[in-house]
C-alpha cells in the first residue's frame, strides 16, 4: 500500500523530472502492438506451485513463468560471424518460511514438476533457518492484475533476419571504404521477455518487455599501430523502428573515419585537466559511481562478497546528509521513462514502477529498494513502499534488488556541449565509453573513452589518444561545475550489467547531459611492448 505522503512525493518527482527531461532522439509514440495475456496453461501450472507452497507452510510465495526469446547477429566485414536464436521457458518459485527465503526453478512445465519445485524451495527455506539472524519482512504492496507491453510499432524478433543482416553488412561495407580501416564489426542483440508473476497475495500480471541493442566497431591499421573505435549506440527498450532510425549504414563511414584519425592523434600528456564528458561517456560514469553506490543491498553488506559494499553507508549517516555533488546535481531513479531499458509496469514483486530522486540538489536522499529492504530505512526516508527494484534475469534466477534507470537531470540553462567547450581554457573532451573499472566501495574509478579531444582557449585544438581519467567519486562529482540543459539530454544504457551470486544480468538506461569537471587526473595508458 502506498501512503498518501509517498504518493505526493512520487507524483511530484515524476512531474518535475518529466518536465525537465528533453525529448528522446526518436519518436516512438505510434504504438500498434497490444499486450498479450498469460498462457492459461502456464497460469494453471503456476497456481499448482503456489498452492503446493502454501500447503507446505509458506507464509508468502511468488511464481514467475518466463518465456525468453533472444536473437543475436554478429557480422565482420563482408560476412556473418554468428547468428543465434534461442528460446528459454520455465518457472521459478520463491517461498518464505519462518522469515527465510527459498527458491527453485525448473524447465519442465508440468503440474508435477511445479509441485516438486515448490517443495524444493520450501526445503531450502527450512534449511536456511540454520543460519538465520535476520527475519525477512515484506513491505506491503497492493494486489495488482493486468498486462503490459513495451510500446513498439514493430517487434524486432518479427523482422525478417535478411533485413537485419543486410543492414549490418551495408554498415560494414560503408566503414571499409575509409582509408586504413581494415576491420568492421556490427551486431544486434534482441530480446523479447514474456513474464507472468503470481503471488500468494493475489497479484497476477503478465508483461512483455522488448529490448534492442545494436553495436558497431571498427579497427584501422597503419605503420605498426592499430586503433579501434566503437560507436556508442544506446540499447533501448524500443522496437525495430528505433534501429531503423539510427541509419547505421549512412553513418558508418563517419564513424570509421574516427578510427583512422586516431592513428595520427597526439598521445596525451598526462596531467590535470578540466574534463568535459559527453553524455555518450558520462552515462557509464553515472552507472558505476552513482547507480551502484546507491543500491541498498550493497550499503548493508549483502553484496560484500562479490560486487562489494558502498561508500554511501551506513544509511543513518548518509540519508539527507551526504553531499554527493554540487547543488546543480539532481539524480533521478525511475522505471517509467519511455525507451529506457528498465521500464516496466510492475517489478518482479508486483510493485508498480516508480520514479524518485536519489540525489536532490547535490545531497543524497534515498536508495534503490525492494519490499524486504523498506523497513531498513523507512524511518530515515519516510517512504513506506518499495521503489520497485526487484528483478531476476530469467525464470531460473531468484529476484533481488537491481538498478533502475538512474539519470542526471538537465540544468536550468539550456546550454550544450559547445557552450561548455567555449567556456573551458585547457581541457580534454571525451566521447563514448572505453575501458571502465571502479573499486568495490565505488570510490576510485578509471574510465576511458573512444574519441578524445584537446581543448585550448575555448576551442577543440585536435585529437588525442591513449587517454583515461581517474578520480574518486565524491571528489569527482563535487568538481562538476557546468552541465547541459534539456536539449542536450541523451539516454545511454547497458544491455548487460552484472551483480549477485550466481551473477545475473540486468539492462538499465542512464540519461544525462554533457558536464564539466574541474581538475581531473588524466593518464596516458600507452605502454611499450
Amino acid at each position: 500500500m502506498q501512503s498518501r505522503r509517498d504518493f505526493i512525493k512520487t507524483t511530484a518527482v515524476t512531474a518535475a523530472s518529466l518536465a525537465a527531461v528533453g525529448p528522446l532522439s526518436f519518436d516512438s509514440s505510434a504504438q500498434t502492438i497490444a499486450a498479450p495475456s498469460a498462457d492459461p496453461a502456464a497460469i494453471e501450472i503456476a497456481n499448482e506451485a503456489l498452492n503446493a507452497a502454501k500447503s507446505a507452510g509458506a507464509s508468502y510465495a511468488d511464481v514467475r513463468v518466463g518465456r525468453y526469446r533472444r536473437q543475436t547477429i554478429a557480422t565482420r566485414e563482408h560476412q556473418i560471424s554468428g547468428v543465434t536464436d534461442g528460446e528459454s521457458y520455465g518457472l521459478g518459485i520463491r517461498t518464505l518460511v519462518d522469515g527465510c527465503w527459498g527458491f527453485a526453478a525448473t524447465s519442465t512445465m508440468t503440474r508435477a514438476a511445479a509441485r516438486t519445485a515448490a517443495l524444493e524451495a520450501i526445503n531450502m527455506s527450512r534449511a536456511a533457518r540454520a543460519v538465520h539472524k535476520h527475519r525477512i519482512e515484506l513491505a506491503p504492496t497492493a494486489r495488482v492484475t493486468g498486462t503490459w507491453i513495451t510500446p513498439v510499432r514493430r517487434d524486432p524478433l518479427d523482422v525478417p533476419i535478411e533485413d537485419k543482416i543486410a543492414l549490418l553488412l551495408a554498415t560494414n561495407e560503408a566503414a571499409l571504404k575509409v582509408k586504413n580501416v581494415r576491420f568492421a564489426n556490427s551486431g544486434l542483440q534482441l530480446l523479447r521477455e514474456v513474464k507472468t508473476l503470481l503471488t500468494s497475495e493475489g497479484t497476477n500480471v503478465t508483461q512483455t518487455m522488448i529490448r534492442v541493442g545494436p553495436s558497431f566497431s571498427t579497427t584501422a591499421i597503419d605503420g605498426g599501430d592499430f586503433q579501434t573505435y566503437e560507436e556508442e549506440i544506446a540499447p533501448r527498450g524500443l522496437g525495430w523502428e528505433y534501429v531503423e532510425s539510427l541509419n547505421m549504414p549512412g553513418n558508418a563511414e563517419r564513424w570509421a573515419s574516427i578510427a583512422g584519425e586516431k592513428l595520427t592523434a597526439k598521445s596525451v600528456v598526462a596531467g590535470t585537466y578540466d574534463l568535459i564528458l559527453e553524455p555518450t561517456n558520462l552515462w557509464l560514469t553515472i552507472h558505476e559511481s552513482i547507480g551502484h553506490s546507491t543500491e541498498l543491498d550493497r550499503a548493508i553488506g549483502e553484496e560484500a562478497n562479490y560486487a562489494g559494499t558502498s561508500f554511501v553507508a551506513p544509511p543513518e549517516k548518509v540519508i539527507g546528509q551526504l553531499k554527493f555533488g554540487p547543488a546543480i546535481m539532481n539524480v533521478q531513479a525511475d522505471r517509467t521513462q519511455e525507451g529506457s531499458l528498465s521500464r516496466v509496469a510492475w517489478d518482479d514483486e508486483g510493485v508498480p514502477a516508480d520514479s524518485w530522486l536519489l540525489i536532490d540538489k547535490g545531497v543524497f536522499k534515498d536508495y534503490q529498494t525492494t519490499r524486504e529492504q523498506v523497513a531498513r530505512i523507512q524511518k530515515l526516508t519516510g517512504v513506506s513502499r518499495s521503489h520497485g527494484c526487484s528483478f531476476a534475469e530469467s525464470w531460473n534466477a531468484v529476484q533481488f534488488q537491481r538498478m533502475p534507470n538512474v539519470s542526471l537531470l538537465p540544468g536550468t540553462a539550456d546550454i550544450g556541449v559547445d557552450d561548455i567547450v567555449k567556456d573551458t581554457q585547457r581541457g580534454v573532451l571525451i566521447r563514448n565509453r572505453g575501458s571502465w573499472s571502479i573499486d568495490h566501495q565505488r570510490y576510485n574509478f578509471q574510465f576511458s573513452g573512444q574519441a578524445f579531444y584537446e581543448i585550448l582557449n575555448g576551442k577543440i585544438a585536435g585529437m588525442l589518444k591513449d587517454v583515461a581519467y581517474q578520480s574518486n567519486t565524491p571528489v569527482f562529482w563535487n568538481a562538476m561545475d557546468m552541465i547541459g540543459g534539456k536539449s542536450s539530454y541523451w539516454l545511454g544504457g547497458a544491455f548487460n550489467d552484472g551483480k549477485g551470486e550466481p551473477s545475473q544480468s540486468n539492462s538499465v538506461s542512464h540519461g544525462c547531459v554533457p558536464a564539466r569537471f574541474r581538475n581531473v587526473t588524466i593518464l596516458n595508458i600507452a605502454r611499450k611492448a
Binding site: 534449511a127 599501430d225 549483502e302 576510485n444
Partner: protein, 458 residues
C-alpha cells in the same frame, strides 16, 4: 529432503545420461533435413546458497536442459536453441535454424561438421559435488561463519558474507557426420568476505574444485577473518612501482586474461601482442621469463577440463608458453587449415595452468626486501590490446612487506599492468596450486608492478 530424488544423483537424476543425450540428439538428426546438422546439449543442475551478516539471504536449485541445433546448407550455417524438448518444439527449433541458414549469406570460411573423433576419458564428475543439498550447504556455511567469528574476535564482532555453489553438467555434441561426444563434470566453489566492525578491515578467501570434499569451509572462514583483522587501519603509501607478491588467487584473476591474446588469427593479422612487426606471429620467440610455462590440458588431474569443444573437436594438451618461449597460438579449424597448422580449440578450453616454481607464498614473502602483498584483484578491465594492458584494484587485504616480513596493512591500490609484460619482470614463481575448477596457478613475485593510485575502499 530425504524423501526426494535429488538432482545429480544416479537415481532419478535430471542430468541426461549418455544414452538419453544420444537418443535426443538422434531424434534431432533424424528430424533435420539440412545437408549437415550439429546438436549441442547442455543438461545442468546447480544448487547455491548465499549469506550475509550471519543469515542465508538467498538460495536456489535450478535444473535445465538446453539444446542447440546448428544446420548447414551449402556454405550457409545458423543455429537455434530451445529448452523445450518435445518433438513439436525440436521441430520448430530445427525449422528456425533452417530458415536462418537459408537467409544467411555464404560464409567463405565455413568448415564441414566433424565426423567421429577419439576423445580422452576425463573423469571430472564427483558425486559428492552433484549431491550437495541445501542442508549440507547450510551446515558448511555455519562452520565457515563460526570459524570466521572465532578468528575475527580480536576485531570484535566480525561481519561475514559469502557464496557456495555446486553444479553438475552433462554436455553432448552430435553431428550428421557420425560424431557423438558426451562428458559429465562437476564444479564447486566457496568464497567468503569478512569485514571488521570498525569498517577498516576486510579479508577474503576462496576455494574451487570439481570435488566438493576438497574444499574446507572452516579454513575459508578462518583465513578471511584473519585477513580482515590484519588489514585494519590501512596506511597510505605513495603509489608507484613496487615489487608485488601476488597470491595464487590474484594470479588467477590476472594471468588467464592472456588466453584472449593467444588467438593465432589476430596475431597473424597484426592485431595482437604476438604479432610480428612486418607480418606473421611470434611463435618461437621469447615472450616471458624463462621460468614461465603456461599450458592447457583437459587430462591433467588437477585441471580435468572438458575434452572437446562445442564443435566436437578433441582438446589436447597445448603448451602456449614453454620456459618463456611462445610455442603455440590458438587456431580455429579454418585458420589452422589456412596456415597449415593443427586446430587447438580456444585457449581456455582445456583449463589453464601456470607452472615453473616450487616455493610457497610464505617463501616468496620471506625473499622480498620491500614490496606489496596482494590477496586478490577486482574489476579488471582491458586498456590496450597491443600489450594486454589491464587496469584493476587490489581488494580484501594489501600488505607492506619489509625485510621478508608483513609489517602493516596498506590502503588498496588501483594498478595498470599487463599480465604479459609482468611475466618478463618475474623475481620468483611459486608452487602451482588448484585455485578454481580448471585453474592451477602459483604465487608470483613481480618487480616494478605498476600501482597507479590509491583507493579509499575497504
Amino acid at each position: 529432503m530425504a524423501s526426494q530424488a535429488r538432482p545429480g544423483t544416479d537415481a532419478g537424476t535430471p542430468l541426461l545420461t549418455r544414452e538419453q543425450a544420444k537418443a535426443i540428439a538422434d531424434r534431432v538428426l533424424m528430424l533435420s533435413t539440412a545437408e549437415q546438422t550439429r546438436v549441442n546439449i547442455v543438461s545442468e543442475w546447480s544448487g547455491n546458497t548465499r549469506f550475509a551478516d550471519a543469515s542465508i539471504t538467498t538460495s536456489g536449485g535450478i535444473t535445465d536442459t538446453t539444446l542447440t541445433v546448428t544446420v548447414t546448407i551449402g556454405k550457409r550455417r545458423a543455429s537455434s536453441s530451445t529448452n523445450v524438448l518435445d518433438d513439436a518444439s525440436l521441430k520448430r527449433t530445427i525449422d528456425l535454424a533452417m530458415r536462418l541458414a537459408r537467409l544467411s549469406p555464404e560464409d567463405p570460411e565455413i568448415m564441414p561438421e566433424l565426423g567421429p573423433q577419439k576423445y580422452s576419458d576425463v573423469n571430472a564428475y564427483v558425486r559428492a559435488t552433484a549431491d550437495l543439498d541445501p542442508e549440507t550447504r547450510a551446515a558448511a556455511i555455519q562452520r565457515a561463519v563460526s570459524a570466521s567469528s572465532a578468528a575475527g574476535k580480536p576485531a570484535g564482532s566480525i561481519f561475514s558474507a559469502g557464496f557456495l555453489e555446486a553444479s553438475a553438467r552433462a554436455i553432448a555434441v552430435a553431428t550428421s557426420s557420425g560424431l557423438f561426444a558426451y562428458h559429465r563434470t562437476t564444479s564447486s566453489e566457496f568464497s567468503m568476505t569478512a569485514r571488521t566492525p570498525d569498517g577498516t578491515g576486510s579479508g577474503w578467501a576462496s576455494s574451487g574444485a570439481r570435488d566438493w570434499t576438497a574444499i574446507d569451509p572452516s579454513a575459508i572462514g578462518r583465513i578471511a577473518a584473519q585477513k580482515a583483522v590484519a588489514s585494519r587501519n590501512p596506511q597510505a603509501i605513495e603509489p608507484g612501482m613496487y615489487t608485488a607478491v601476488l597470491e595464487p588467487q590474484a594470479v588467477t584473476d590476472l594471468v588467464p586474461l592472456l588466453a584472449g591474446a593467444l588467438n593465432a588469427r589476430n596475431a597473424d593479422e597484426g592485431r595482437s601482442p604476438f604479432s610480428k612487426t612486418g607480418g606473421g606471429n611470434r611463435i618461437g620467440e621469447k615472450v616471458a621469463d624463462e621460468r614461465v610455462t603456461l599450458y592447457s590440458d583437459p587430462n591433467d588431474p588437477k585441471l580435468l577440463a572438458e575434452p572437446f569443444d562445442n564443435t566436437g573437436l578433441p582438446i589436447a594438451r597445448t603448451v602456449w608458453i614453454e620456459k618463456g618461449v611462445l610455442r603455440n597460438l590458438a587456431y580455429t579449424r579454418f585458420w589452422a587449415q589456412k596456415q597449415g597448422k593443427q586446430p587447438t580449440g580456444s585457449p581456455a578450453a582445456g583449463g589453464l595452468a601456470l607452472v615453473g616454481g616450487t616455493k610457497s607464498t610464505e617463501e616468496l614473502i620471506a625473499g622480498c626486501a620491500r614490496g606489496v602483498l596482494v590477496t586478490h584483484f577486482f574489476y579488471i578491465r582491458a586498456l590496450d590490446p597491443r600489450t594486454v594492458l589491464q587496469t584493476g584494484l587490489t581488494r580484501d587485504g594489501a600488505f607492506l612487506i619489509e625485510n621478508g616480513k608483513i609489517t602493516r596493512a596498506l590502503k588498496n591500490f588501483r594498478w595498470n599492468e599487463s599480465p604479459l609484460l609482468m611475466l618478463n619482470r618475474l623475481e620468483e614463481i611459486g608452487r602451482p596450486e588448484l585455485t578454481a575448477a580448471g585453474r592451477v596457478m602459483p604465487a608470483l613475485r613481480i618487480r616494478d608492478f605498476n600501482f597507479t593510485s590509491l583507493s579509499d575502499a575497504v
